[in-house]
Every structure is written in structure tokens, then in C-alpha cells.
């Protein structure tokens, strides 16, 4: 299966999925850590994919979303954004609404 297809599967099969560096318990980058902190604060039920464990996904996810950085959040198949957009949406209350729909 191509990286693109594997990503499409992950995004389709998980309502809330975060592609990140490291794991929820041990994020390996400040931006990934920030994304996890936001999701935890909202008590969201999410899956994570550690791109450091998979070079194909690490490169492929950037092409999939036409987005050059990691982390990347997907909710119900839609790309939401990286940690800056997550923070803006968290502060405005939009992220709470979006995640509530996915729960």
C-alpha cells in the first residue's frame, strides 16, 4: 500500500487522529507537545501516529495535506491544521465544537 493510501486509511478509520513526532506520553517536539496538551485539555479521545517511526508517513503526510509541518490534526477525515491553528481554534471555542461533533 502506498503512503498516501495508508494515510487515507488512518484518517478514515479514526475520528480524531494526530500525526505527531513522538507519542502522546513522550512528544519529541514542542509543537507536537502543544497539540497533545490542547487535545488533553479538551478531554478528547484521539489516536496518534508517530511519524518518527515511519519515514514514509513522515514525508507522505506533508504531501497528503499540502502542509509542510508536523503535527497535523484530522477530524472525521478532514485536515484541521497544525498546532498554531489548533491553539487559535481552542481559544475561540471552535475546536471544542468540532471535537464534540466527532465524539
Amino acid at each position: 500500500m502506498s503512503a498516501h493510501d495508508r494515510i487515507a486509511e488512518l484518517v478514515k478509520n479514526n475520528d480524531i487522529v494526530l500525526f505527531m513526532k513522538g507519542t502522546a506520553l513522550f512528544p519529541q517536539c514542542g509543537f507536537s507537545s502543544r497539540a497533545i496538551a490542547i487535545l488533553d485539555r479538551l478531554e478528547a479521545k484521539y489516536e496518534t501516529v508517530d511519524v518518527l517511526q515511519d519515514p514514509e508517513i513522515r514525508q507522505g503526510i506533508k504531501e497528503y495535506s499540502e502542509w509542510p509541518t508536523i503535527p497535523q490534526l484530522y477530524v472525521r477525515g478532514e485536515f484541521v491544521g497544525g498546532s498554531d491553528i489548533m491553539m487559535e481554534m481552542f481559544e475561540s471555542g471552535e475546536l471544542q465544537e468540532l471535537l464534540a461533533q466527532a465524539a
Binding site: 514542542g30 509542510p68 509541518t69 491544521g81 491553528i85 487559535e88
Partner: protein, 81 residues
């Protein structure tokens, strides 16, 4: 590889001429920046599209040459109405 703040600003303004750009060097290492970009051209665009426009202006450097660019985009608001 470090990149100067002035170079980031120049590239953004080249692609988005009316952009109001402010840049902060977060770690003092020339590799972790925060940028705020305001432009009328962002009107009607989703946040994702606005950020993608800035990434495009930087021509593939974000995520590579430029490790981290904390980004905030906005449409300029009239200050006195």
C-alpha cells in the same frame, strides 16, 4: 540551517505585497520564529489556506531549512469605525 528574520520577511512580502509582517526569534538561534502576517488578500480564505499561502511564499523552506515557524495570519481590521 538558520535563516535571518529579514529574509523571511522579504520572501513573504515578495509573494504577498500588501502583507504586514512581524517576526520574533523565539529561541535566539535563527531557527525558531513566530510570525504574524496580515493581508487583505486573506479575506474569505480559511485559516488553512492563509497559512498555506505563507508557506508557499517561503517556497518549501518551512519544515526543512526553517525548522519551526509559529504562524498567525489575519485580515487587517479597520481600527476606528
Amino acid at each position: 540551517m538558520p535563516m535571518a528574520a529579514s529574509e523571511i520577511e522579504r520572501l513573504i512580502k515578495e509573494a504577498i505585497p500588501d502583507a504586514d509582517v512581524s517576526i520574533r526569534d523565539l529561541a535566539g538561534d535563527g531557527d525558531h520564529y513566530a510570525a504574524r502576517v496580515e493581508s487583505k488578500s486573506f479575506a474569505g480564505m480559511s485559516r488553512i489556506k492563509q497559512h498555506q499561502a505563507v508557506y508557499a511564499a517561503l517556497g518549501g523552506r518551512v519544515g526543512g531549512e526553517l525548522h519551526a515557524l509559529q504562524l498567525e495570519t489575519a485580515v487587517p481590521q479597520p481600527e476606528n469605525i
